[in-house]
């Protein structure tokens, strides 16, 4: 056991279940899920359709509340009434979504898009300070100052994803949550964005939570892997352990199904 596993996790689900529907016709999307994400770690949550990935993601982002169990941040249960905790959570947990085409407002310039979370979270003393921050994060993701005045449509898929990452980084988050952040990208671009995410994580000391159907992506970016199946945790542990010596036949089948090149 390392220190990390005994300390308080940064973000965690404790016995979380989420049911949908009314009397007699409930669907259980998540069923008693425990996941602990420790500060500075990278955790991948992998699963196929119907595994509960989307429901889990909404709970992790505080956009939904569990039917039973708790979601906690810094050891405190996320509760709509705890304004101070929620404020901190909204600032410190940022998300990058799958499709930058639909997640970036087409009518806003890149500078406006990246500055938007700073404004809504009231970060930065004035316009000048926010503008400097926009330049800084655009630099981190490899976009130059020219990009500021352009619109998302003027960029390729990979560059749009860089803009989305810059926006997520602007408020200095502790946790970056990725919802299939590279799945919609061409393979050569995918590799670049994966390298970017890995580098930013190390340089900025970010905690990374990656939700994906792609076990190869999780295998390359995450130190820990959680295999989700039918709303339950099928298997979890160190990525190398889970993906090279899985204990669950389902994990084995998932790995065997991945087409690879000899």
């Amino acid at each position: 056991m390392t220190d990390e596993t005994t300390s308080v996790p940064l973000l965690a689900l404790h016995g979380v279940s989420r049911e949908f529907g009314g009397r007699g016709r409930t669907t259980t999307a998540l069923d008693g899920v425990d996941i602990a994400v420790h500060e500075g770690r990278s955790v991948g949550i992998v699963g196929e359709s119907g595994a509960g990935k989307s429901t889990l993601l909404r709970l992790l982002l505080g956009l939904d509340t569990p039917t039973s169990g708790q979601v906690s941040y810094r050891g405190q249960t996320l509760d709509r009434r705890d304004r101070a905790l929620l404020k901190r959570f909204r600032r410190e947990v940022q998300v990058v979504l799958q499709d930058p085409r639909s997640s970036l407002d087409p009518r806003m310039t890149v500078a406006q898009i990246v500055a938007e979370p700073l404004q809504s979270l009231r970060i930065g003393a004035d316009q000048r300070e926010r503008s400097a921050r926009v330049d800084e994060v655009l630099g981190w993701v490899g976009l130059d100052a020219d990009a500021r005045r352009k619109y998302p449509a003027q960029f390729s898929g990979g560059q749009r994803q860089r803009i989305a990452i810059a926006r997520a980084l602007a408020p200095s988050p502790k946790v970056l949550v990725g919802d299939e952040p590279v799945s919609a990208l061409d393979v050569s671009v995918r590799q670049q964005i994966m390298e970017l995410l890995a580098r930013l994580r190390t340089e900025l000391g970010l905690t990374l939570v990656l939700v994906s159907h792609d076990v190869a992506i999780v295998g390359q970016l995450c130190e820990e892997t959680v295999v989700l199946r039918g709303g339950r945790v099928e298997e979890a542990g160190e990525t190398r352990q889970v993906l090279t010596r899985p204990t669950s036949p389902y994990t084995r089948a998932l790995l065997d199904a991945v087409p690879t090149l000899a």
Binding site: V187, I217, R240, P259
Partner: protein, 265 residues
């Protein structure tokens, strides 16, 4: 003997922009051609042009030779007799390719009635056989279902059953497993592989995913920005890719599909 040959296939928009630029390749009878490319490479447009299914405003020049007959010279009526009967298609998302208002049984029977003039009862029997062929074993329930009542994998099996209904010479599959879960993808690829082998159908398989293409195709055409950059075989491309772009694509595909390996002890 060549089953399908594309010669200098060029597609332009009404504004004069060239989207496909003199694309040429051929597949022999019983051959398996993979067309690989990233977004904007023109791989799907090639498939659409072959069947005369280009979006409004685009025009194709060159030749698409099926048994020596140029499909680009055919009118809509003649083309309709080719589509489904001689060249059948399987698309990425079967939910949009299948008619939501028609039961699966009637959809599979459709091409048999249209192209083969099969009676209703005969078509229904053949549809049941086709269901079993694509391993949809709960045949009666499947035939009576609407597409949205089936899983993604089941729907793609239905699409394959429909495509094979009239024993086409060429099966044109455009990203047929891209929308599927990886375990379902593996099953569908195995199924396609087996059916193609057994029926001797010529396969043209379009995809952005090199490991997927490598599983089913023998010959390989690499496309970029509307042009063929390399025509080779899958084995050759994996062993010794000639074009720098093929090398780049291969390196990226290897990198992103790599799984963690056991520590050497």
């Amino acid at each position: 003997m060549t089953a399908l040959e594309v010669r200098d296939l060029t597609v332009r928009t009404s504004g004069g922009r060239t989207l496909l630029d003199a694309v040429s390749w051929e597949v022999p009878f019983g051959g398996r051609l993979g067309i690989i490319g990233e977004s904007g490479s023109g791989k799907s447009l090639t498939a659409a042009a072959i069947l005369g299914l280009l979006p409004e405003g685009m025009t194709a020049t060159g030749q698409v030779l099926l048994d020596g007959r140029d499909l680009l010279t055919l009118g809509e009526r003649a083309l309709r007799a080719v589509r489904g009967a001689q060249v059948a298609m399987v698309f990425q998302e079967p939910l949009t390719a299948l008619d939501p208002l028609m039961t699966v049984g009637r959809q599979i029977a459709g091409p048999l009635r249209l192209h083969r003039g099969a009676s209703r009862t005969k078509a229904r029997e053949l549809a049941a056989d086709l269901c079993r062929l694509v391993r949809l074993d709960d045949t009666e329930r499947i035939l009576g279902s609407y597409p949205w009542q089936l899983s993604g994998g089941q729907r793609q099996r239905v699409s394959i059953a429909m495509a094979l209904a009239c024993e086409p010479r060429v099966l044109l599959a455009d990203e047929p497993t891209t929308a599927l879960d990886v375990t379902v993808q593996a099953e569908i690829l195995d199924l396609l592989d087996e059916l193609i082998e057994r029926t001797g159908t010529t396969l043209v398989f379009v995809s952005h995913d090199l490991p997927v293409v490598a599983r089913v195709a023998r010959d390989l055409v690499v496309m970029r920005s509307g042009q063929v950059v390399e025509a080779t075989t899958v084995a050759q491309a994996l062993e010794a890719p000639a074009h720098p772009y093929t090398r780049q694509l291969l390196a990226a595909a290897r990198a992103v599909s790599r799984l963690p390996q056991e520590d050497p002890r």
